[in-house]
Symmetry: C2
Subunit: 346 residues, 2 copies
Amino acid sequence: MPTSDGPPTVETIAARAGVSIASVSRVLNGHGARPNTVRRVEQAAAELGYVPNGVARSLKGGRTRQLTFAMPDVGNPAYVSMVRQIQAVTKPLGYRLLLHSTDAVAEDELDVVRSLADRTSDGLILCPIRVTDAHMEVLARAARPVVVIGSLPGTAAVDSVRADSVSGTVLAVRHLMECGRRRIAFINGPADTVPGRNRLIGYETALREAGAVPDPELIVTTDFGIEAGARAAHRLLDAHPGIDSVFCANDQLALGAAHAAHDRDLRIPEELAVVGMDDSELARAGHPALTSVDLGSAERGRIAAEMLVARLDGGRHEVRCETVAPRLSVRESTTGARTRTAAGVS
Amino acid sequence: MPTSDGPPTVETIAARAGVSIASVSRVLNGHGARPNTVRRVEQAAAELGYVPNGVARSLKGGRTRQLTFAMPDVGNPAYVSMVRQIQAVTKPLGYRLLLHSTDAVAEDELDVVRSLADRTSDGLILCPIRVTDAHMEVLARAARPVVVIGSLPGTAAVDSVRADSVSGTVLAVRHLMECGRRRIAFINGPADTVPGRNRLIGYETALREAGAVPDPELIVTTDFGIEAGARAAHRLLDAHPGIDSVFCANDQLALGAAHAAHDRDLRIPEELAVVGMDDSELARAGHPALTSVDLGSAERGRIAAEMLVARLDGGRHEVRCETVAPRLSVRESTTGARTRTAAGVS
DNA sequence: GTGAAAGCGCTAACAC
DNA sequence: GTGTTAGCGCTTTCAC
C-alpha cells in the first residue's frame, strides 16, 4: 500500500475511488465497468494526475512499444530521412523510437541485434554498412523481429529492403550520355562494400550498353566527403583534361567535384557536367544545383518500418525482400538551365 | 518455473547451476560469491546465452537507463549535431537514446514532458521551439529531470543551456563591417521567437556601436528555407541595389541569397558578401563556401547531456544555466579567398 | 556465502 | 461487474 510519497499507482487510485485495483485497471484500459465505477476511477486518476508505469506494463505484457533503428551515422542525410519516415509510420501506432548510431563498427551492429534479448525493444531496423557471416549468424538467432535495410544473401530468413545502386548508377550515366557527354569520369566511394561494387557495375554496364569502353583511368575510388571529392576531381582533371562530366557516388563527393571545377574556372555544366547520388539537401544547396540520383532512402525507411510493424502484430508470414527503384532528379549541373555562367556565356 | 520454451530467466540459470535465483543475481551483478558458485552460474548463463530482461530490471530498480531527446526536427543539421554529442556523452555511460521529433508542435513538447511520468525514460533533454507559460508549468511538475536547450525565464527551476544569438549576430555584422561593408541587409527567420528577436537586437546593436543607423527597409522577415532566402534576397536587391552584403538567420537562407546573387550575376563576395548562421555542412557546401556563425549546437548538446547525467546520478545541486559563446567561421563568401570569380577578376 | 521470500506496478484469470 | 490473487523477471533484505 503506497504511502504518501512516490507517484500514484493503481493502488492509490483504487483506495481513493473505493474500488479494487482490478477495477482501476479495467476502467483505465476501457474494459467496461459500471458507469458509476468508471466515473469514480476516472475522477480519482485525474485528480492525482495518474500516469501508468510503462515499465510495469511492459513487464506484464511482454511488449515495450519501443522500436530500435540502428544506422552507421546520425549525421548522414540519407539516414536522417530514413529516421523521419520510420517515425512517420511508427509514431501514430504508439511506438517510441530508439536511435542507435553504430559509427559503421560491425561489432556495434552485432551488439544491437544481440541486445534485443534484453526485451527492451520490440523490434529492430538495422542498416548495416556491410553484411558479414557474423551478421547472418546473429540475425538468425535474433530475439525479436528484425528488418534489414541493405542487401542480404538470398538464403537469409530476414525481411529486408534494398536499394538498387546498379540501376541508379545506370540512370545517371545514361543521362550524361543523353546530354551528349562522352568522357564520363567516375568518383566512387569505398569499393569494398556492396553499394561500392554495384555502382562500379552500373557504371560499366551503362557505358557498354552504349557501345563505349570503360576506361579504368577515369575511375577514382576514395572516401566520402567534400574534400575527398575535390581532391579526386583535381587528380582526374590533371591527368585527363578531356573529361566532360563526372558521376559521383554521393552528393558530398559531387559538391567537392563542383568546387574543384570552380577552382579551375571550368563552367558547370558546359565544360564539366556533375551528377551526385542520394539527392540530399546538399544537391539543392550546390550552385549550380546538382543533378542527383535518389536511391530512395526515404522510401526504404518507410517500407522497412511497415515490414517491421507487420511482423510485430501480424503472423508468421513469409520472408519479404523488396527493392526500391532509383529516381533521377535532373537539375542545372547537367542541363545548365538557370545557372549564372550559362546565362553569362550563352 | 519456466518450461522448455521462452528465453532463459534467472530461474532457468539457477536450476541448471543448482543454486538459488538469489545467487544467480549476485554472481551476474558481481556481488561476490564462492568461486565455485561463480563458475557454475557463469557457465550456465553462457551455455544458455542468457541476457537479463531489462524491463524487469528497470521495474525493480526504478531506472531504465534510457534518456529522451526531443527536438523540433530530426532533419535539421543543428539538431543532428546535438544528437551526436548527446550520444557521445551518454552512450559510454550505458544509456540508450530515445528520439522524439516534435515537428515544432508545442502540444507535442508538453506531451513528451508529461510522459516522463510513465517512468519509461530516466531523463529528458528538451529543445523547444518556443517556451510558453504552459511549458513552465509542465516543466515544474516533471516526473524526471529535464534539461532545456533554449532560453528560460530567470525564475525557472530547470537546468538549461542557451545559445547567444545576440552576440552571434553581432559577430557576423561586425565582421561584415570590418570587411568594409556599409549597406548590410538582414534576412531574418520567424521574428516571434526568442532567437528571432535576439538576432534583430544583435543586428541593430552591431550597427549602432559602429555609429550606423539601422534601416528597417533592409530587414526582411521570412520562413527558413533555401527558396525563401532566394526570394527575400531578390526582393531586397530589387528595392535596394546598393546593398553590399547580407546577413542571414541560417545557412539555408544564406544559400538562397547566394543563389539569388548568382542569378543576378552578382559576384560573391565582391558585389555581395553573404553570412549565414549555424555553420552547418551546408555552409561548406555552398560556392563560394559561406562564412557562418556557429551558435554551438554541438556544444549545447554536450553540455545538456552532461547536466542531465549530473542531475541523474548526482545530488540535488542548484539549478544550472549556461550560455554557449558563438564563434564565427570565416570563409570565402566574405573574404573572397580561393573563389573562382575572385581569381578570374582580380 | 546462500536460500527463501518479498515486492517493484501492472494485467488477467478466476471466483463470486 | 467486481474483488482476490497470481504472476511477469528481477534485485534485495533477512535469516540461516
